[in-house]
Symmetry: C2
Subunit: 190 residues, 2 copies
C-alpha cells in the first residue's frame, strides 16, 4: 500500500495511541486525508465569534466571545451528496446525555434530512466510535422519555467505526456501509 506523507500519519497514529488524540483531531485528520485523496470535500465550520472590540488597522481582535452554534460542526460533499454531521465525546461510559445536542441543532437536523442530506452523529463512548444516523437519533428522541441514550442503543442501532492506520477514524467507510451499500451504490460519484 502506498502512503504519501506516510511518516506524518504513522506519527499521528503513534500520537493517538500514546497521548490520546481527541475526536475533533481524528476527524480533521480524516478530512485532510479525504481532501488529499480527492475522496470528499468536508470541513469543520469555524466556531462563531461575537466581536466586541477590534483594531481593524492592526487586524487584531481585542475582545470577543464564543457564540452558540445552531448547526452541526462539519459539512461538505461526498459522492455528490450533501453531508452534515456533529461529533461528540461522551464522558459517561454507559450512556450519551442528550443535553450534548442543543434544541436548535435538532431543528437543523430535521430541516436538512427533509432536504435530502446525509446527516449523523459520530459519538465516542466507552472507547468506541459510533456513527448514529440522524433518523435514528430523532427516532430515539420521539419514542423515549429518557434524557440520555444508553450504550445498548448504539450497540444495536449505530454503526461502529473501525480504527485503521490511515486515516485512523475512517468514518466515510461507515458512511458507505450505512448510506450507500443499502442503496446498491458502492463506488463512484453520483
Amino acid at each position: 500500500m502506498f502512503y504519501p506523507n506516510g511518516k506524518k500519519y504513522i506519527k499521528n497514529y503513534i500520537n493517538y495511541k500514546n497521548r490520546g488524540m481527541n475526536l475533533e483531531s481524528l476527524i480533521n485528520d480524516a478530512n485532510d486525508y479525504y481532501l488529499e485523496m480527492n475522496k470528499a470535500v468536508i470541513y469543520k465550520k469555524p466556531t462563531p465569534i461575537g466581536l466586541v472590540d477590534v483594531d481593524y488597522k492592526k487586524g487584531e481582535i481585542k475582545k470577543a466571545f464564543f457564540k452558540e452554534k445552531s448547526t452541526f460542526d462539519y459539512n461538505g460533499i461526498y459522492k455528490g451528496k450533501y453531508i452534515d454531521f456533529e461529533a461528540k465525546e461522551s464522558k459517561s461510559k454507559t450512556s450519551f446525555p442528550l443535553s450534548n445536542i442543543h434544541e436548535h441543532q435538532i431543528k437543523h437536523l430535521r430541516r436538512i434530512l427533509d432536504h435530502g442530506a446525509i446527516s449523523f452523529l459520530i459519538v465516542n463512548i466507552n472507547d468506541a466510535y459510533y456513527l448514529l444516523k440522524g433518523e435514528d437519533l430523532l427516532f430515539f428522541i420521539e419514542t423515549n422519555e429518557r434524557k440520555s441514550i444508553p450504550i445498548s442503543f448504539f450497540e444495536k442501532n449505530a454503526k461502529k467505526i473501525n480504527l485503521k492506520i490511515r486515516p485512523i477514524l475512517d468514518y466515510l467507510d461507515a458512511v458507505d456501509e450505512v448510506y450507500f451499500k443499502e442503496r446498491g451504490i458502492e463506488n463512484g460519484k453520483s
Copy 2:
C-alpha cells in the same frame, strides 16, 4: 401573496433602498427567508479566527486575529444538491479584479465541482448582481491572461439576479434558471 413577518421585510427593503444594504446582508436576509419557507438550508460560514489569549473561565477572547479562508463563504443544501458559493462586491464599475478570489479558493472550486456541487460567485458590480457559474469563472481564468473580468463577460455569460420585495436578492431564482431549468427539473426536491 402571504408574507409572514412582512413588516420586517418591508423595513429591510426600505433600509436597502435608503441606506444601501451590503451584499452580505442581502444574502443573509435571503438565507433567513429560505430557511423560514423551508426552501433551502444555507448558512454563511463564520470567519475563521486564530486564538492568541483566551480567558476560559470568563469565556472571553482577549486576543485573536482573523485567518484567511480556503473555502467559499456560504454552503448548504438546495433541492437535494450541495451548494457552495462566494459573494463579492467589485469596487470597479467596469471589471471584477481576480485578486478578489484567492488561489486556494480556486482549488476549492475545482474540487467541489469535481464532486458534483453547484458552485458559483455572486458579484455586485456597477449596481447590478450577477450569478457567475464556477465553470464559467474557471473558463475565464484558463483562457485569459487578464487579471480582471470585464463587465461585458458578466453581461454575456452570467445570470443577472433581479431584485424583489422579499427576499430582495432572490438568488435561488437565478440558481433555478441556471442549474435546474436546463436539466428540466423545475420543482421539488431531488
